[in-house]
Symmetry: C2
Subunit: 376 residues, 2 copies
């Protein structure tokens, strides 16, 4: 096993939950952490600096890591262009860490389009990689395990993901899921063999991705195989793909006893405040999800009560309440629900910005609260 | 003439140009000033606090006044709602001054729609006011000189405008323009009579608006009449309505010798960097224009060379240059043209935010440079 670049020091545990310091490329974050998603080198509607300014977040605890999407960067600006600009950090002016996904999930999403027969030949999974048509211009592309490492290297990613086959939970039998898992393992081996040769040329570390659907034996088989590659950390994939919350929590529970203690565990594409609360106590360290920003753009805000505020609802038109009076973010401290309602009714961009800020801060503060609980 | 609420102290003049301190409701700004337009209680895509944060503007000279549109606030949130929330300042969390226009220009715009026969009965100018249909829901409304004062009072406007008839420069003969000017005068008298009774109940001051199209005698007649109401300042209307720049500068030149020395002069709906440079030296003190933010949303940025940068142009895709390397704003200091190009190509909201910031700062800095020249 490679001498790890990523340092992961567990400070305190409480049951399966842990607080740890993660250090990589001279930058340190504390886990558990929620990573806001900056799909195309921008967290939609946000100036990144604001996310780490106590004036706007109401906390001096900084958000030290964000995510970017390999697939979307490949299709939009292009990895060669981003490399030319000195990598994603410089490109988007972010001095924290950046995790990039592998594109496996986006391929899965294109595959869903295929099944709905809207785009019959948008994606094909072959033994050596994934063939797909760009949803942008119809051009043809192939992602191989090696190419996806190269792309993420060009993006100057700090934490890279292997190309995987994300198994759907519906319309997939166990045999198919097993086949997809095995291909994920073959690709992981290829990716790590390739990565090992390039290791010293790259900034980043590489995480394998556990698949196996909702089948306990497959999930444990996948974990057992991929623990060999958990040099710097490991990810749980094939979640947030249509399963129920209970099913997702069960998958995490099956894995939780066999995950390596001293490596960070990343639950991909999760989650909601409830998901974080549940799975941090199952031993998960890292999260990402478009939910806080996507909900925000639709006028939906997290609330400390656990409910969601739909700000376009007419009951808020004359409300002088803040969005969440337990929240110290800029949005909650300075604006009424009535004003936010007005912005959304008039389709003013500022509405998305203010709600995105609040929702990201909400999840950030939730992890901070849970950390306090673990440390206490 | 009323004892003026607004204090206007000229510090220095250079030819017709002047630098002055304008104090109203406990707030002081220095003129000449460009007022960014916050149409519906938000400067599109901007957090207002950013506009006065040296980190983002690159200057400690603050933007102390913004504009809101009476017509749009009336049609959107509604003045009664804004009043319920404690006025526009509280509603949008802005502690600087706010100037509101009267709706005259928007009525003019609806009138243009009428002439193009798209919306035959969208607006009718009658002797006692303007009848119009809401472009939002087709409902019928009347703006009278008195009602427009009341609406602006409910908005807690600092500087209000009288309802005027904005004469188009095309498709209008001199007789029509004279008739519209006379109605503007009758309405101004009504507005000021009404305002005088309410004066002590209102935060704001009221400016009359000079009309008269491109006719020197009418313009001077209008100024002569309205100087009686220039208690706190005066506005030049009927510009930025399709005339050439030379015609507009000529109008200002005609008026410039007869405008009261010790009152601020506001050139409505102007302008471009060139317009500011030209007309400040003709003695204008105040400006507003949607141009910097509207251009920004279309990917067009002001540049210190006087040219405009069209960031969507493919020549910028691989450019590591800043938008304007003479500019100290957050956008120019932290991002390449290549990144900004990417944001616009991908229709990411952050592009509008970053270019709006730059364009507003550009005009702000231009007024600061001209002030220095006048003071030197």
């Amino acid at each position: 096993m490679k001498n790890n670049k990523l340092k992961f020091d567990i400070i305190k545990t409480k049951g399966k939950a842990r607080v740890a310091k993660l250090n990589l490329n001279g930058k340190t974050i504390t886990t558990p952490v929620f990573m806001p998603v900056g799909t195309k080198a921008t967290i939609k509607s946000m100036i990144l600096d604001i996310l780490n300014d106590p004036k706007y977040t109401g906390t001096d605890k900084k958000i030290g890591i964000i995510l970017a999407n390999t697939f979307h960067m490949y299709i939009s600006a292009g990895h060669k262009t981003v490399k030319y600009f000195g990598g994603l950090h410089k490109f988007q002016n972010w001095d924290g860490l950046i995790l990039t996904d592998s594109g496996g999930f986006q391929v899965f999403s294109l595959g869903l389009d295929k099944r709905s027969s809207r785009n019959k030949s948008l994606v094909k999974i072959k033994n050596d990689g994934v063939w797909f048509r760009s949803p942008k211009d119809g051009s043809e592309h192939i992602f191989t395990p090696e190419k996806v490492v190269d792309i993420q290297g060009d993006l100057f990613s700090d934490i890279m993901m292997v190309l995987d086959v994300c198994s759907p939970v519906h319309g997939n039998d166990k045999k198919q899921t097993a086949k997809q898992m095995n291909l994920t393992h073959i690709w992981a081996k290829k990716a790590f063999d390739y990565f090992e040769n390039k290791y010293n040329d790259l900034n980043g570390v590489l995480f394998p991705i556990i698949q196996g659907g909702l089948h306990k034996d497959l999930r444990l088989e996948s974990l057992d195989f991929l623990n060999n590659y958990a040099w710097d950390g490991i990810a749980i994939g094939g979640v947030s793909v249509g399963e129920t919350k209970e099913e997702m929590y069960k998958v995490v529970d099956w894995l939780s006893n066999s995950l390596l203690e001293n490596k960070p565990r990343y639950l991909m594409g999760v989650g909601t405040p409830e998901d974080l609360l549940e799975t941090i106590y199952q031993g998960i360290d890292m999260y990402d999800c478009v939910l806080p920003t996507r909900l925000a753009r639709h006028g939906v805000a997290f609330h400390s009560s656990g409910e969601r505020i739909r700000i376009k609802n007419s009951i808020h038109k004359m409300s002088k309440d803040s969005l969440d009076n337990e929240c110290q973010c800029f949005t909650c401290k300075n604006f009424t629900r009535g004003y936010l309602h007005h912005l959304f009714k008039e389709k003013e961009m500022l509405g998305s910005t203010l709600l995105s800020l609040h929702n990201i801060v909400h999840l950030h503060n939730l992890t901070e609260q849970i950390k306090k609980d673990i440390l206490s």
